[in-house]
Amino acid sequence: MSRYVIIAGCGRLGSLLAEELSRAGDSVVVIDKDESRFARLSSDFSGFRIHGDATELEVLRQAKADRADALIAATSLDNVNLMVAQVARVVFHVPVVVARVFNPAREAIYRRLGLRVVCPTKLSANSFLAALQEEE
């Protein structure tokens, strides 16, 4: 079944996710403040690109956040991700909201706010530790 997914931030992570989801048949809308970032998307991506600030309600409304099945906040700023994710949850009632958080110290706080978070710093730390363990 095709889902409607909004991705805030079209950096390395955002563009990768957008391409994968679009190729798999999902409807994808990518939002980025910087229009030149959309150049990262290959012709596999057949979704919409919205040039704007995802923290603005109007931009999310334009992306039809009210009918989205999921939203991924993948900008490079923790605070922006937090804000976008909360707006998506509280204002637009998006069922699945995932935010990227770099700072591991904040992860717990965000969790407490009821958001699903992915912390790349912690994930890579765990991978490094696992690699060390294997060496021993």
Binding site: R23, V28, S43, H51
Partner: protein
């Protein structure tokens, strides 16, 4: 060497996908046979369709087997152009064969007629009053399919990552939904519903079932093939003309915009820049043609108004139905229609021509250029265009692409009209007729006929083909085929 291997791999994909589309084209060529039960006396014609249809079907199935097993390889827009060139050429050439073997056209005439069909032009060298019903139906089917484009059809029919590359190369790139397959399926459903309603409405307004089917196909695809040599003029019925005008408008308005209107978003519809341009053009057409041309030519004011409205919409929508002959018209009438034909319909529809959105963008750029002279050098400008619910801002790059397109369209137009003039046709008639070909309209002032010289037909065939695919896909597709062909075929050492 490695590059050659890579190319070989990519061409297996390209041929594989082209094969899939050939299968669909083959089925379209075979489809008139479904009407055989209604026209049993035309059984001898069956072979004319079955032969080329089955041959292309076989070629398509074989090419499909080249597809490598692995999934999920996207095609670039350039590779999409190659597929567009391969599939459209197949449609035009194979689609011409039934006309040679079925109704005895020369190969040049048949290719012209076939191109006129698939590109939704509607210029014809056939004497339709003497033409078998199956062939008439076949022509209408080619228009129906050519109007939507093969990308839309294949995307809805099949899974596979052909996606963006193909649909943007075919000049049907605008999307309704944030996934190319879903928007293709919406366009196709919208189109089918329009066609069904169109058939019922035309039948209700007084056509026979056969005429209703053909005219609904030809009106919504903005094609313009008719089953009568006098076109819509044969019926001379205000009701039928009104229904046809609605159908032509549905065909020419951007699907994005009519989709918004259907969903009840009338504000989005009324705000769209293209709807404004369309409205202004129709109003100007009715005024200029009504006051300057038809008022003096036709007996009653009612008839004069009807003719002015119908011919304006027919030219703007790039359909090409006619209710009267243009031969007695004064120069002003020809000029107005030529201008409308060059501008053409809405983007993201089945129409051809320069497209209203492009004209709007360039006109607005001109305004900005003049205004900019009076403003401080660093003034920020926003060049915007309303499309359905969305306000799009255009950068310099988009304006440049638009300007290049308009230049190419006009350059090919002038060149083509020049060829017609060189064959001895009147200047006004040549300009009118070639505008009709390049913008895929089908209105005619008599240059197109069974006894037109081969060179004229070839020039117009090329014009229709380039105009329908909006030039660049053909240019880049052919260029890529030539460059890659040198790599793949000529034996040469590793550079």
């Amino acid at each position: 060497m490695r590059y050659r291997q890579y190319l070989r791999e990519r061409y297996r994909w390209i041929l594989g996908y082209s094969g899939t589309i050939w299968v669909i084209i083959a089925l379209l060529i075979l489809s008139p046979l479904l009407a055989l039960p209604f026209f049993p006396e035309e059984r001898p014609l069956a072979a004319a369709f079955a032969g080329p249809g089955l041959l292309l079907l076989l070629a398509g199935v074989l090419a499909r087997r080249l597809l490598p097993a692995q999934e999920n390889v996207g095609l670039s827009i350039l590779e999409g152009s190659v597929i567009v060139v391969l599939t459209w050429t197949a449609a035009l050439v194979v689609g011409a064969i039934p006309l040679v073997s079925g109704v005895g056209l020369t190969p040049t005439q048949a290719l012209f007629e076939s191109t006129s069909g698939w590109t939704t032009t509607g210029l014809s060298v056939l004497d339709v009053d003497q033409t078998p019903a199956l062939v008439l139906l076949y022509r209408s089917i080619t228009q129906l399919a050519g109007g939507a484009g093969f990308a839309i059809i294949i995307l809805t029919a099949l899974a596979g990552p052909v996606g963006m590359g193909l649909s943007s190369a075919e000049g049907r790139g605008e999307q309704l939904e944030p996934h190319v397959r879903q928007s293709a399926s919406i366009v196709l459903r919208l189109y089918s519903v329009y066609v069904l309603l169109g058939i019922l409405a035309l039948r209700g307004a007084g056509m026979s079932w056969f005429d209703a089917v053909n005219h609904a196909f030809a009106a919504l695809s903005t094609g313009g093939f008719s089953t009568r040599s006098a076109s819509l003029g044969y019926w001379d019925s205000p009701l039928l003309e009104a229904v046809t005008i609605v159908l032509m408008l549905l065909g020419t308005i951007n699907f994005l915009i009519s989709y918004a209107a259907l969903k009840g978003k009338w504000r989005a519809f009324l705000r769209s820049s293209e709807v404004h341009v369309l409205g202004v053009m129709i109003a100007v057409g009715v005024l200029v043609l009504g006051l300057g041309v038809t008022r003096d030519l036709y007996p009653t004011p009612g008839k004069a108004l009807r003719v002015a409205l119908f011919e304006s919409v027919s030219a703007i929508s790039t359909t090409g139905f006619a209710t009267v002959s243009y031969l007695p018209w004064p120069g002003l009438g020809w000029f107005t229609l030529t201008l409308f034909m060059l501008i053409g319909g809405g983007s993201g529809s089945t129409a051809g021509g320069i497209k209203q959105a492009r004209v709007y963008v360039l006109a607005k750029s001109l305004w900005w250029q003049i205004r900019g002279a009076f403003q401080p050098r660093n003034t920020l400008r926003e060049l915007d265009i309303w499309q359905g619910e969305e306000r799009r801002f255009l950068g310099d790059a988009e304006v440049r692409v638009t300007a290049i397109f308009v230049f190419t369209h006009l350059a090919v137009f002038v060149l083509g009209a020049g060829i017609l003039i060189a064959y001895g046709y009147d200047v006004a008639a040549s300009l009118f007729e070639f505008a009709s070909a390049i913008s895929t309209i089908g209105l005619s002032v008599g240059v197109t006929s069974a006894d037109a010289p081969a060179g004229v037909l070839w020039a117009m065939t090329a014009g229709m083909f380039l105009g329908r695919l909006e030039f660049f896909a053909v240019f880049t597709g052919v260029a890529k085929l030539l460059v890659d062909g040198r790599w793949l075929i000529l034996p040469r050492g590793d550079p």
